[in-house]
C-alpha cells in the first residue's frame, strides 16, 4: 500500500494525522508546519535532526556519497533517529511513517531558525540538507521520482531524436557511463546551464549555447540545484523574521545552543591569548603544529611571503593558539621585510588585512580559525599557494618525501599514505600526530588544526597541566560533536590500561 494521495484509496491513519499531507518520503519544505507542538517535542525534533545532519557531514567526508557503505550507514542513522527514507510502506506502518515524515517536516523548519543567522551557518545547513535530499531522492526509482517532481511542478523539455543524432558523439563523451546504445535509448533534456551547476562545475555535461544536455538520470543534479536555491532564499527570509523568534524566551536558549553545537569549539574565544611568545613559534611548528600549518610556516620562513590563502589559514590559526594582534603584526612584518616587501608597503597593505582578520577593521567580524572540513573542502590551492590540507592537496610522492625528511619511519608513512588513498584525510593527520608524538592512540577525533595544537601541547606538557589554558569539553552541546579527549587526561599509571578501552571510541570514530 502506498501513500499515493489518491482520494479513492482508504488511507487508515489514526488521530490527527492528515491523509494528504505527506505523500512522499521526502519534500522540498515549501510550506512551514502550522500545528501546535510541545516544547519538549520541539527540542527533541531539533536535536535529532542535528544529529542526523552531523552524521551526514561526517559520512560525507569519509565515504564516497554514492557508495553502498555510505548508504547503509546513513540508513542506520535514519532508523535510529526515526526519520523517513522508505518509499513504500505497508499498511501496518502507515501511522509511524506519517509520524516520521511529520518529524522530518517540523525539525527542518526548526533548524532553519537556528541556522539562518550567518553566512557560515547557512552554508553548512544547506550543504547537509542537500546531501540528505540527494540520498533520499536516489532511493526513488524512475516512476516515483517522476511523480515527486511533477507534484512539485518541475517540468523539463526533452530533445528531439534528430538533435540527439547530430550530437551523439558529444553526448557520449560528456555523460559519464554513456555508450552509443545508451544514448539512443535514453531521453536527454535541454536545461539552462544555471540550473545544472553541479554538472557544469565538474564538466560532466555537454554544453552548447548556454544549454546543458542532461540525461534523464542526471535530473537529480538539477533538482538539487533547485532545492539549494529555494532553501537559500528561504533562509534569507527567515533571517529577517528572526528577531521576533529570538525574543521568545522559551526558544532563545535552545536556538543558540543548536547553532554553536555544529562547529564544536571554534577556538575564537581565547583564554590563552597573550600567553605565547614569538620565540616559541619555530619550536611549536615542528612539535605541535599539524602538517598543514607546519608546511605554511616553513614556506613563510623560506620565501618570506605567503599568498592570501596561506595568510588567512595560518594567520587565523596563530590567532587561535593565542597570538595577540600586536604579536601577529610583528611576526608577519619581520618575516615579510626579509623578502621583497618594504616596511612601508607592509604597513599600508598587509597590516590592514591582519587587523581585519582580528576584527579591528571593516565590518569588524572576528574571524574564526578554519576547521579541517573547511580547509579540505574549500578554496583548493593553486600555483604558488601553500595552504590547504597536505593530505588532501599534495602529491602522494611529495608527501612521502616530506614525511621522510621529518624522520618518520617507513611503516608509519605507509599507514599514512594508505589513509590518504582512502580519502580519510583527518585520520591521516591523526596518524601523523601519533607518529610524531610516539603514542599508539591520539585519543581524540581530529576536526580542527587548533585542536591538534591543543592536544599536542597537552601531551608534551605532561597531562593536565598545559602551558596554554583551554576550555574543557563539558557543556552539553559538545555531546553532539566529539567524545571528550580520553587518554590524554588520564594519569600515567593508568595509561596502558585505558589505551585498549579507548581505542574503539577514540580516533576510529570517523
Amino acid at each position: 500500500m502506498l501513500f499515493s494521495g489518491r482520494r479513492q484509496k482508504i488511507v487508515r491513519l489514526t488521530g490527527d494525522r492528515q491523509a494528504d499531507l505527506y505523500p512522499h518520503s521526502l519534500q522540498f519544505y515549501g510550506q512551514p508546519p502550522t500545528e501546535n507542538i510541545s516544547l519538549s517535542e520541539f527540542e527533541t525534533f531539533a536535536v535529532d535532526r542535528l544529529k542526523l545532519l552531523k552524521t551526514v557531514e561526517n559520512l560525507g567526508v569519509s565515504y564516497v556519497k554514492t557508495s553502498d557503505q555510505y548508504a547503509t550507514k546513513l540508513e542506520g542513522e535514519f532508523r535510529k533517529l526515526h526519520f523517513p527514507y522508505r518509499v513504500e510502506t505497508d499498511e501496518k506502518s502507515l501511522d509511524t511513517e506519517y509520524d516520521k515524515r511529520r518529524k522530518d517536516h517540523i525539525s527542518h523548519f526548526i533548524l532553519r531558525l537556528a541556522y539562518c543567522q550567518t553566512e557560515d551557518l547557512r552554508r553548512w545547513f544547506i550543504q547537509q540538507e542537500m546531501d540528505l535530499f540527494r540520498y533520499r531522492f536516489h532511493m526513488l526509482s524512475k516512476e516515483p521520482a517522476h511523480d515527486f517532481l511533477k507534484f512539485n511542478n518541475l517540468h523539463y523539455e526533452s530533445i528531439s531524436d534528430e538533435e540527439k543524432n547530430t550530437l551523439k558523439e558529444e553526448l557520449i563523451n560528456s555523460s559519464y557511463g554513456f555508450s552509443a546504445p545508451k544514448v539512443e535509448d535514453h531521453d536527454f533534456y535541454k536545461v539552462p546551464f544555471q540550473d545544472a551547476l553541479d554538472l557544469v562545475r565538474g564538466r560532466k555535461v555537454y554544453l552548447r549555447e548556454g544549454l546543458a544536455y542532461i540525461p534523464h538520470q542526471e535530473i537529480v543534479a538539477i533538482v538539487l540545484n533547485d532545492f539549494r536555491t529555494r532553501l537559500s532564499k528561504a533562509l534569507a527570509i527567515t533571517a529577517r523574521s528572526l528577531p521576533e523568534v529570538q525574543s521568545d524566551e522559551r526558544l532563545q536558549p535552545l536556538l543558540n545552543h543548536l547553532s554553536h553545537a555544529y562547529v564544536g569549539q571554534d577556538y575564537s574565544i581565547q583564554k590563552n591569548i597573550g600567553k605565547i611568545s614569538l620565540e616559541q613559534i619555530d619550536p611549536f611548528s615542528t612539535k605541535s603544529y599539524p602538517l598543514c600549518m607546519r608546511h605554511l610556516h616553513k614556506a613563510l620562513r623560506e620565501n618570506h611571503h605567503l599568498r592570501h590563502g596561506g595568510r588567512m589559514q595560518y594567520g587565523l590559526f596563530l590567532k587561535g593558539i593565542g597570538l595577540t594582534l600586536e604579536q601577529a603584526l610583528q611576526f608577519w612584518r619581520s618575516e615579510f621585510i626579509k623578502g621583497k616587501v618594504d616596511a612601508d608597503k607592509f604597513d599600508k597593505t598587509y597590516a590592514y588585512s591582519i587587523r581585519h582578520s582580528f576584527g579591528k577593521e571593516g565590518k569588524r567580524t572576528d574571524y574564526t580559525p578554519y576547521s579541517c572540513m573547511k580547509i579540505i573542502l574549500s578554496n583548493p590551492p593553486s600555483q604558488g599557494d601553500h595552504h590547504g590540507c597536505p593530505f588532501r592537496h599534495s602529491d602522494p610522492e611529495l608527501l612521502k618525501q616530506k614525511l621522510q625528511s621529518y624522520k618518520i619511519h617507513t611503516n608509519g608513512i605507509t599507514q599514512v599514505l594508505d589513509l590518504v588513498k582512502g580519502m580519510h584525510y583527518q585520520l591521516a593527520c591523526q596518524k601523523y600526530f601519533e607518529l610524531t608524538h610516539s603514542v599508539d592512540d591520539c585519543g581524540f577525533s581530529l576536526n580542527h588544526p587548533n585542536q591538534y595544537f591543543v592536544e599536542s601541547q597537552r601531551i608534551l606538557n605532561g597531562g593536565r597541566e598545559i602551558k596554554t589554558e583551554v576550555t574543557q569539553n563539558e557543556t552539553p552541546q559538545q555531546i553532539l560533536t566529539n567524545p571528550a579527549p580520553k587518554s590524554a587526561t588520564v594519569p600515567e599509571e593508568n595509561a596502558a590500561k585505558t589505551k585498549g578501552a579507548t581505542k574503539e571510541a577514540g580516533c576510529k570514530r570517523n
Partner: protein, 420 residues
Amino acid sequence: MSYEYDQASLPDLLPLYYRRLFPFSQYFRWLNYGGVTKNYFQNREFSFTLKDDIYVRYQCFNNQSELEKEMQKMNPYKIDIGAVYSHRPSQHNTVKSGTFQALEKELVFDIDMTDYDDVRNCCSAAEICSKCWTLMTIAIRILDRALKEDFGFKHRLWVYSGRRGVHCWVCDEAARKLTQSARAAVAEYLSAVKGGEEAIKKVQLSDPIHPFIKESLKVLQHYFEDYALVNQDILGSKESIDKVLALLPEEVRDLLQNDFLKVKTAAQRWECLKKRVLQMQGALKKGVYGDWDIMFQYCYPRLDTNVSKGINHLLKSPFSVHPKTGRVSVPIDLKLLDQFDPFAVPTISLICQELDKALEGDEEANDKENEGEPEQKRRVRDYKKTSLAKYVKVFEQFVEKMEQSWKGELLKKSDQQKDF
C-alpha cells in the same frame, strides 16, 4: 625624442590623459547598458588608487559628466570597476546593515603570467617576453571559444592588463545576473590545471575526453610545437627534460630516457615521446594521456577562480594605466590576436607626447577651427591623433554591438509601459 616612461611623471601625465584621451563617451555607453535598468550606472562601485597608494572605495557617479569631473579632479593612478549594488555605493554605511548588497556584475576572468612560473623557462614573476606571451594567446583562444560556443555569451571584451596578463569582461545580461555559485561553476568548468606548489602533475583529464577538452586540445596542438619545443625549449636541457618526463608514468619515462639517447633534436624527442605513448596506449591506466597531459600542463590557461567567483570583486578597468609600466590597459582585437604585441601597447607618456606634437601641428594650421569647439568633440579627435586610436576603435565596436541588443530591450520595455 625619448618616449621613456617614468612613474614619477604620472602626476603630470594623468591630467592630460583624463582631460583629452580617456574615452569617456564609449566608457559610459558601456557601463550604462542603454539605461534599460534604472540606476544601473549610479549604483556601480568604482575604486581609485591615488598618489601615495591611497585607496578609496565605494566611488559612484550620477552620469558621464560627473564621472569625468571627478576623475579629472582626482587623477587616479589606477581605476577598478566593482559591482552594481542595491543602493548608491557612497551610502553603504548609512543603509540598514545587511541590505546593502552587490546585485550584478560582469563575469570576469584574470589570467596572470606568474601562475605559469613553474612551466616558463624564459621569464619569471612580473616579467614577460614575446616567447611566453603565446600562453596568453592560447588562453584567449581556448576561453573565448568556450564562453561563446559552450555558454552562449555574445559580448566578451578581452583586455591587456598593462603588465603581465589579460582580463576578460563578459557583459551579457545573463552573465551579469549570475550568482556567485554559477560564476564558480563556470570557472571550474574552464579549469584543467589544478594544484599548488606540492603537486607535480597538475592535470587530470577525464576518460572519455569531454568535448570542451577536445576543442581546447585543438588549440593547444596548433601552438604547442613552436611555443614549447622551439621557444621554451622544454626538451632541450636535461633538467628541463626531466621535468617533462616527471609527468609521465614510470614505465614510459624509463623507455624514453633510452630513446632520447638515440636522437639529437628536441623535435625528434617529442616525436619519440608521442610514439611511445601511442604504443603503450593499452598498458597505460585510464586517464593517462602522456603527450596530451604535457601539453595541458605547459600551455593550458590558468585562471584565478577567486577573481571570477565574487560578485563584489573589483577588477582593473579597461583604459586604466598600469603605474609600473605606464602601459594603458587596452582592448585586444581578437581578429588580430596572433599579431598582438604587449610591448607595442602605448604607454601614457607616448600618447601624451604624440598628443602634444599633434597639438603643435594643429595650432599652426587650424587655429580658428578649434575655437569654440566643445571639449568632448575635441577629445574625440584628440585620441585619434595618438597610438591609442586603434584600441579605442575596438572598444567602440564592442559597445556598438551591445547597443544593438539593448535597442530591442528598450523598445520592449517602453511598449510594456505604454510610453509612446
